[in-house]
């Protein structure tokens, strides 16, 4: 395999309820601000969980005309915003058509998203005359796409490189970054956009996750609902957003004097192979992902200065992840600071690990660790070195992000500060 050495992240585009640029997002995380509110985008009565961190307004990039913009569905707008902002932030916008730029995009429910919009746009005429629709969508704004979103967006932006849509449930973003890094290291492309986007606050996903009893039912206390590692946690809270990064061969980035946000130092992935939903009670399969990432980065657990945990705030998930971290980190588990930014962003599902990679980059740049808010009474079965309630200044060189997902997916991404 051709190995061009390091892979840098040289640009980021993101849209979250806590900000649509890295600086604002990081500042809000470090301030411990929570984006979780009562759901407003859909009729939520009758749902077990009625709260979420919704992305209500997706900013329009100046590069896209208003008339074109409004024809896109919100998911398409989100992807466009993130990709355009990433290219602009990475100072590649003007050069995007002269480079073969690859795209690896995590989209876990692209087609169901469009089917659902289509259904609700026509619902009045189908089964519920006279009844308000669960989603207010105008028929003229709703078409079933004929081609995949990643291709439509690449064509719109004039990107001429390999492109794939990837779905590993909540670990999709980490997988996207891992695969894009591989494409760069093998010399296939010098530049690749990678990340993930999701808008899961929809009638079906709120119903399904709610009936699965995966979502918090603390509807009367939205800001206190997501409580990773806390003894009183009762499930995760749905979140929305997206983050796309410019990944680039170090050599290429140096040549064009690009400013690195971070370097991707390691990636590991494995599967539980035990259950589609419930994490394996045996920590070994997930530990394999962490060990592979550490080996890839050629570091030991004690070299990690901050771990952004997957920790969605479900009773089982947080406990299982703790066991995995304790198994792999050993004594270092007592010293490596850990937090879950999902306590503030909610769980972005497909987008979660991309948002958390952005949180890690923000932490590296700010030299401070965002807290797990609402961690008032740590669960003794989640005995880790928690950064709770308030951000903590720290010397951060290497940070890691765990992401696990349905289908038994386990991943770890390791990032390094580039001086």
């Amino acid at each position: 395999m051709k190995d061009n050495g390091g892979v840098w992240i040289t640009g980021v585009g993101l849209a979250t309820p806590l900000g649509s640029d890295l600086g604002e997002f990081t500042a809000n995380l470090l301030a411990g601000r929570c984006a979780i509110r009562r759901v407003t985008k859909m009729a939520i009565a009758g749902h077990p969980s009625q709260i979420a961190a919704e992305l209500v307004d997706i900013p329009r990039p100046q590069a896209v005309d208003e008339a074109v913009w409004v024809k896109h569905a919100p998911l398409e707008q989100l992807v466009l915003w993130c990709m355009i902002r990433a290219l602009q932030n990475g100072d590649l916008w003007e050069r995007r058509q002269s480079l073969p730029i690859g795209v690896v995009l995590g989209l876990g429910a692209e087609w169901p998203y469009f089917w659902e919009r289509y259904w609700f746009a026509w619902e009045h005429e189908r089964v519920a005359p006279g009844r308000p629709a669960a989603l207010q969508i105008h028929k003229q704004d709703c078409h079933l796409p004929e081609r995949p979103l990643v291709h439509r967006v690449c064509e719109q932006l004039g990107l001429d490189g390999p492109r794939v849509t990837i779905a590993a449930a909540c670990a999709s973003g980490n997988y996207a970054l891992g695969l894009a890094r591989q494409w760069i290291r093998s010399g296939r492309v010098a530049v690749c956009l990678a990340g993930a986007c999701d808008l899961p606050v929809t009638p079906l996903s709120m119903s399904c996750f709610g009936n699965l009893r995966a979502l918090s039912r603390r509807n009367d206390q939205p800001q206190a609902a997501c409580r990773p590692f806390d003894r009183q946690r009762d499930g995760f809270v749905m979140g929305e957003g997206g983050a796309v990064f410019v990944l680039e061969a170090e050599e290429h980035a140096r040549r064009r004097k690009a400013e690195p946000l971070a370097a991707i130092l390691g990636f590991g992935a494995s599967s539980d192979a035990s259950h589609l939903v419930i994490p394996n009670s045996d920590p070994e399969p997930a530990a394999r992902a962490l060990r592979l990432a550490l080996a890839d980065a050629r570091i030991g657990p004690e070299d990690i200065n901050y771990l952004n945990a997957h920790a969605p705030g479900t009773p089982v998930g947080d406990r299982c992840e703790t066991r995995v971290v304790q198994l792999v980190f050993g004594e270092a588990a007592k010293r490596v600071p850990v937090s879950s930014t999902k306590s503030m962003t909610g769980h972005g599902v497909t987008a979660a690990s991309a948002l958390e990679a952005a949180a890690c980059i923000g932490a590296l740049r700010a030299q401070a660790i965002p807290p797990t808010i609402n961690l008032d009474d740590p669960d003794p079965e989640c005995d880790l070195c928690h950064v709770s309630r308030e951000a903590r200044p720290a010397r951060l060189q290497i940070v890691a992000s765990n992401s696990f997902g349905f289908g038994g997916s386990n991943t770890m991404l390791i990032l390094k500060r580039v001086a």
């Binding site: 749902h47 876990g108 169901p112 079906l204 009936n211 394999r288 289908g407």
Partner: protein
């Protein structure tokens, strides 16, 4: 020259001159494909046997998407036909590319939601009917602890499976990968619960690993000149690197495409098993060299 099945077939490709710079290779250890009716898929839910001889778990039988059953059937067939046991089978990865996965379940769920509300929605909908579900299900059923994820999801995104899979084998996360593709034919034109008299579910399972795996016989190159051409899923011409054409080629039908001058030509040919190579050729800057696609017996 390409050797195939003891024959030599000359295939010249105009416009190819410079050495290719972007190549992905993997060994195709084994493959199987199937085409199933709905009735057959229903029967397979109870008839399929896992490699250890056990029947499928009851919960899986109840909730699995039809494409998952088809993909599993093709994978199990490949597994059973391999002349050698898989090295470190428990650490293999699974990458799956279904088309319009979960469409009918989503349709039914939307009807129920409109009629009965949130409480009527099955908690199994997302775990079993989203793009990641086929790969996740195979990982669980086959006990594969390597990476698992879904790819594509839309119409004719088979090529993305090859891009991802042949990329994955180059790193050390797993000793090999199951690449599984499934699709209904004819493809569903729009969201609709019914519409075809007898739709067929195609399924293909490839077992691939790194090129240093022993016992390789043949090499196949799948070449093209520009990325957009490779992703031309709107085109119906037979040069498109899609599931249907790939299966045809595996069974021996040679796939060619109309050649245009300096064009975005795809030319590909697949042996039954061997070295599978996905290669982006650089168009020669000057002249029109003719380059033969090479052979090879390893």
């Amino acid at each position: 020259m390409i050797k195939y099945g003891g024959q030599q077939v000359k295939t010249s490709v105009p416009g190819v001159g410079a050495e290719a710079t972007q190549v992905l290779r993997a060994k195709l250890i084994a493959w199987s494909s199937g085409a199933f009716t709905r009735r057959q898929l229903q029967r397979l839910r109870t008839e399929l046997r896992l490699p250890n001889g056990e029947t499928l778990p009851a919960a899986f039988v109840r909730h699995a998407e039809e494409q998952t059953i088809a993909g599993l059937a093709a994978t199990l067939q490949t597994w059973s036909e391999m002349s050698q046991s898989l090295p470190e089978a428990q650490n293999w990865g699974v990458i799956a590319a279904p088309e319009y996965f979960g469409r009918e379940a989503t349709w039914s769920a939307l009807q129920r939601y409109s009629q009965e509300g949130a409480s009527a929605i099955s908690p199994h909908l997302i775990p079993n009917h989203c793009l990641h579900s086929l790969a996740g299900s195979l990982s669980v059923l086959l006990g594969c602890r390597g990476p698992n994820y879904g790819i594509g999801g839309g119409p004719r995104q088979f090529v993305e499976l090859l891009l991802a899979g042949l990329g994955e084998v180059q790193r050390d996360l797993a000793p090999g990968y199951w690449l599984v593709a499934t699709a209904w034919r004819p493809a569903p034109p729009e969201l609709s619960a019914s519409g075809f008299d007898e739709p067929i579910c195609l399924a293909l399972a490839l077992a691939i690993c790194r090129e240093d795996f022993p016992l390789v016989t043949w090499r196949a190159r799948l070449s093209w000149y520009s990325w957009p051409r490779l992703f031309d899923s709107a085109s119906s011409d037979e040069s498109v690197l899609g599931l249907d054409n790939f299966v045809r080629a595996l069974y021996g039908a040679r796939i060619t495409s109309p050649t245009k001058e300096h064009a975005e030509t795809i030319s590909w040919y697949i042996p039954r098993t061997g070295l599978l190579e996905l290669r982006r050729e650089e168009v020669a800057v000057s002249g029109q060299n003719e380059t033969d696609y090479q052979e090879v017996a390893a």
